[in-house]
């Protein structure tokens, strides 16, 4: 892990997401009544107002929806990585499901909107794995 990198503090709504990442599975919350996906995690479905939900493993495939290149000044934890690309990935399951992450196995110059990517899990602490992204092969 990187000293001083901010790490997620799971709460009662988000804990299944982070526990899934720890096991190497990308899970998304889904309404048990109307089957709508939702992110960020929350107690009820804004579509049908059901309080029942499940956590389902999704494909882990998506495309880059937007991206930035962060330059100094950044938090000290990220200082060695600048210029640092951060991407927003839209999952193939649903247009509203978008995750912020970093790209691996990819030069900064090759990042573009529409780039097909897949999730890779990066262990950053005993209890935390972060979902990051790499270009899809084939």
């Amino acid at each position: 892990m990187i000293e001083g990198q901010p790490l997620p503090e799971p709460d009662e709504d988000s804990r299944p997401f982070w526990e899934g990442c720890r096991r190497g599975e990308l899970l998304m919350q889904r309404c048990a009544a109307c089957r709508r996906f939702r992110f960020y995690p929350r107690p009820m479905c804004p579509g049908c107002r059901s309080f029942d939900s499940t956590w389902e493993k999704v494909s882990g495939r998506g495309t880059v929806y937007s991206w930035i290149v962060a330059h100094k000044p950044v938090m000290p934890a990220f200082a060695d990585r600048v210029p640092m690309v951060v991407v927003l990935v839209e999952l193939e399951e649903d247009a509203g499901l978008r995750l912020v992450g970093q790209v691996r196995e990819c030069a900064n110059e090759d990042v573009r909107i529409g780039l097909p990517v897949e999730v890779v899990f990066e262990s950053v602490a005993d209890d935390v794995s972060l979902p990051q992204w790499r270009p899809r092969r084939g």
Binding site: P6, E9, H71, V86, V100
Partner: protein
């Protein structure tokens, strides 16, 4: 229809000198600037019976009353969401006045942000709430979050960094005439393009300043406003908005992606004031980052969706004679970044006729707060 129109007015304004390091404590600044705004209105602390506090404010209403010697405060509340709140403070104060809960309401914001360090640099080792989904990945600073939206905006609408530069250059042109503005050196499009990248696609000159600033606006009832020292800036309408897909800053989960709660305050304040976009004489548009301004221009209907890139050219944003003069004191980009409270003060000056970039015959001025957070807006008129 019940309306807020002309039931309350902004009757007093003041700010302490904007600075990178003001050298005096926030609590002192909050009280001093309130005294100055009351004096501007021709009112005394004894007249105050309401307060609206910025959520970022270190000084409580209690402390304000204990210092200012206000015996009985009848109305008080706190506004949240950083740059989204400023116009909301005026909205709430006006509502309190219109409903008879208060007659004279102090709206203030005193914060030493220039000397106090950047809030994002204090991001903790463990982050909860919404932050847990973006900060661990390096999307930590407000500029990173807006850059992510800006890249997509550029992709979808064809707007370019040079178009964003038009906003920064207009704000700087106005700041050059404002002796209180922090940034008064000339700026060209080329200067903007040559400034260093902070979070691509955004450059340094797309970003607001870090400032110590204490500002105050006094909202009073129609009865009280008639006896105050200056021409009242009548509140014609005011609104707040958030929605079921809103996240503070890192608004990445919306469909359509580029819509913000600004679309709702646009609808509500224009309708409330009985104005079409073309009727607005002058606008103070929240400008923590340049793309927020072009997005706001479109959401208010000053141009068609996707056409801000053309709208911002040819001096249209410049006082006195552009089609939509914006941020006539220099805004957050060149006067001071104070969560948009300077925009409130400048709108009052435009209606009084005392701006250093006065729009001739300005009868209506729009003020917006942060796009992409729970937000607010209001219109003042002569």
């Amino acid at each position: 229809m019940t309306t807020l129109k002309r039931k309350a007015a902004i009757v007093g304004i003041a700010h302490l000198p904007f600075s990178k390091n003001i050298g005096t404590p926030e609590r002192t600044n909050a009280m001093r600037v309130t005294m100055q705004a009351l004096d501007d209105a021709g009112l005394r602390p004894e007249d105050v019976d309401g307060m609206v506090k910025s959520g970022l404010e270190a000084t409580s209403e209690m402390e304000m009353c204990r210092g200012l010697g206000i015996e009985n405060l009848r109305f008080f509340c706190e506004m949240g969401y950083g740059g989204g709140q400023g116009s909301g403070a005026i909205a709430v104060a006006a509502a309190a006045v219109a409903s008879g809960q208060a007659d004279v309401v102090v709206c203030w914001r005193a914060r030493n942000r220039g000397s106090g360090g950047r809030p994002w640099a204090k991001t903790g080792w463990r982050v909860g709430g919404d932050q847990q989904f973006y900060s661990p990945f390096g999307c930590v600073r407000p500029v990173d979050q807006v850059a992510m939206i800006a890249r997509r905006l550029m992709h979808e609408s064809g707007i370019t960094s040079r178009d964003f530069a038009e906003v920064a250059v207009a704000c700087r042109a106005h700041a050059r005439n404002n002796p209180h503005a922090l940034m008064r050196e000339p700026m060209t499009i080329e200067d903007h393009q040559a400034s260093r990248p902070v979070s691509e696609p955004l450059r340094l000159l797309d970003c607001c300043l870090e400032t110590d600033g204490a500002l105050c606006a006094i909202v009073a009832s129609a009865d009280r406003a008639r006896d105050t020292r200056h021409k009242p800036a009548w509140i014609l309408s005011a609104a707040q908005a958030t929605g079921n897909q809103t996240v503070v800053m890192a608004n990445f989960h919306k469909t359509p992606f580029l819509e913000t709660p600004t679309k709702w305050v646009a609808r509500d304040v224009l309708r409330g004031a009985g104005l079409e976009p073309g009727d607005v004489d002058c606008a103070q548009l929240y400008d923590a980052f340049t793309p927020l301004v072009t997005m706001t221009i479109e959401e208010f209907g000053f141009c068609a969706p996707g056409e801000a890139k053309d709208f911002v050219r040819d001096g249209r944003l410049l006082a006195p004679h552009g089609g939509l003069p914006i941020n006539t004191s220099g805004g957050g980009l060149s006067e001071a970044y104070v969560h948009g409270y300077n925009l409130i003060l400048e709108a009052v000056r435009q209606v009084r006729g005392t701006s250093t970039n006065q729009v001739p015959g300005c009868e209506t001025c729009l003020v917006t707060s942060g796009a992409g957070v729970p937000t607010s807006a209001f219109v003042v008129g002569a």
